[in-house]
Symmetry: C2
Subunit: 248 residues, 2 copies
DNA sequence: TGACTGTATTGATCTCGATCAATTACAGCG
DNA sequence: CGCTGTAATTGATCGAGATCAATACAGTCA
C-alpha cells in the first residue's frame, strides 16, 4: 500500500479541516515553519474546472477533501481521464507552470495550495521533500500502469469492478477501515466520469452496473451510494490476481 | 521535448559503447567519481527476459543500446505492455527491490547497471541526482498518460500511427535528425509486441499496417524497415492535435 | 536444396461495446 | 404539487476489432 502523504504524516494541524496529510505550516517541524506564508486554501464546487489544459498554473496543491480528475480531450471531443485525485493526493508539477490536462472537481473539493516559486525553493533546499515527491510520483506511475492494463485488456465488466474496488479501497483506508467483507461508500463520480475513466461510454457503464447489481455483486441505494456485500466477490470480477497486484 | 539524460549529458566516456547518456564513472564530475565500483554492463539478446515480475532486482540500470519493454500479464494470459525503454531510458526504482513487471529485451540490449545499495546511497547524498530522477519520472508519467488516451479512446489506425510516430521521433532524436519530411527507421518491435503496446491483436496490427501502406502513409522494406514519406501525413493519422501535444 | 520454424499476412465470421433513440428517476423550484 | 432540467436506465441496431483458420514468407539447419 503506497504512502500518499507528502511530508508530515499523522500530525494535527490547527487550520486544516481534516487530520493533516500534506506539507503545511503550523506543524511542529522547524524545516517547514516558513511555509506559513506560501500556503493558502481554495474551494471548488462539483463540476467546476480547477484549471484548463494549457493554462498557467502558479501553484501546486494537495487535495484535502473531495475528488478531482485530470482529463485529456481530443479535438473531436473524445475524452480520457488520466488521473483521479483523492484526499492527500498531490496536484501539479515542479518545474512546469502550464497544466497539461484539464483538472475538474468531481465533488466539492478543498485544495491546500502552495505558491509555485517558494515551493520549488523548498524542494531545492530540502532533500527529503524531493525524495518524498519522487516516491509519490513513482507510486502514481505504478497506478497509471495498472490503469493501462485496465484500458488495454479488460472487459467492460472487469473495468467497472476494478474501478469500484479502487475507490472502495481508497475510501476505506481514508476512514481507517479494512476493505473486507461488507463495504459501502459514496461514488464520487457520475456515470459519464466513470466512462471517461474506463474508456467506455456512459451507456455501457450503466448497463454493467445494472448487471453487477442483478448478480448481487453490488447493491445501490440511490444512484450514488454503493454497498459491496462481499469484497472478495467483487475482486473476483476485476480480473486481477488474488494477491495484491493492485498498487492503487 | 523531455530531457532523458540522468546526470551528465553529452560527455564522452571511455568505457561506454556510445556517447555517454547516463550516470557513469569516468566522467569528469567529482561527485560521481566513486561510481566506478558500483557500475557494470550487461547484454541481453532479443527475446530474452531481463527480469520476471516478482523477481528480486538488485540493480537499477540505464539502457545504452537497444529496446526493452515492461509488460503486465493477467492469469489468463492477456498481456499489456506498460513501458517501452529506448536508449537513455532508466530501468528500476529506488526503494523497491522487486520487479513489478516482466522486462523483456525486444532487440539486443546493452544495459549499464548500478548495484542497488550504493545507488540508493548516491541518491540520498546527492540532491541533484534525486531531482533529476524526479524529473525523469514525471516525464514518464506524462508519457503513460498520453498512452492511456491512446488505449482508451483511439481507433486501431490511430494507435498504429501514434506508435510509429513515437518511435520515429525517438529514433530521429537519437540520431540528431529532425522528424520532418521523409523519415525512415527500423521497427524494434514484432507485430505481437506492437499489439501488446497498443491493446490490440497482432492480426489487427497487421491489417492496419497494410492499410497505412496501401494509403501510402508508410512504406515497408522487408517486415521491419519503415519509411515515412511525409511525417506530417502520419501525424494527421494519429488523432493528436497539430501542435506538440505529444510528450514522448 | 529442401524441410522446418517462427513471424507476418489475409480471409471469414462473430461478438462486445458503440451508437442512436426512447424512457425513467429524481432533485430543485416556482 | 406539477413543471423543468439533468442524470441514469433500457432497448434496438450497427460496426470495429476479436477470433478462428489458412496461407505466405524469411531464416536456419541438415
Amino acid at each position: 500500500m503506497p504512502n500518499r502523504q507528502l511530508a508530515i504524516p499523522q500530525q494535527e494541524c490547527a487550520d486544516c479541516p481534516i487530520r493533516h496529510r500534506a506539507v503545511c505550516a503550523r506543524c511542529e517541524t522547524d524545516e517547514l515553519e516558513h511555509l506559513e506564508s506560501i500556503k493558502y486554501y481554495r474551494k471548488f464546487e462539483a463540476g467546476q474546472t480547477v484549471v484548463w489544459a494549457g493554462d498557467k498554473m502558479d501553484f501546486v496543491a494537495s487535495v484535502i477533501e473531495g475528488v478531482a480528475s485530470l482529463t485529456q480531450t481530443m479535438e473531436d471531443g473524445r475524452r480520457q481521464m488520466v488521473g483521479l485525485l483523492l484526499p492527500s493526493d498531490f496536484l501539479g508539477r515542479p518545474n512546469r507552470d502550464t497544466a497539461p490536462y484539464d483538472v475538474v472537481a468531481s465533488t466539492d473539493v478543498m485544495l491546500c495550495c502552495f505558491r509555485r516559486a517558494p515551493f520549488q525553493k523548498l524542494i531545492a533546499e530540502n532533500a527529503n521533500i524531493s525524495q518524498r515527491l519522487l516516491e509519490m510520483t513513482l507510486d502514481e506511475l505504478d497506478a497509471a500502469r495498472e490503469w493501462m492494463l485496465l484500458l488495454g485488456r479488460k472487459t467492460a465488466r472487469e473495468k467497472i469492478a476494478s474501478l469500484l474496488s479502487i475507490i472502495a479501497r481508497r475510501d476505506a483506508s481514508l476512514k481507517d477501515l479494512p476493505s473486507k467483507g461488507e463495504v459501502s461508500f459514496d461514488l464520487p463520480l457520475t456515470r459519464e466520469a466513470m466512462a471517461d475513466y474506463l474508456g467506455l461510454t456512459l451507456e455501457t457503464v450503466s448497463r454493467q452496473m445494472s448487471a453487477l447489481k442483478r448478480d448481487d455483486v453490488i447493491r445501490l441505494e440511490g444512484k450514488r451510494h454503493i454497498t459491496i456485500p462481499d469484497f472478495d466477490l467483487l475482486m473476483d470480477e476485476t480480473g486481477d490476481d488474488a494477491d495484491g497486484g493492485m498498487l492503487v
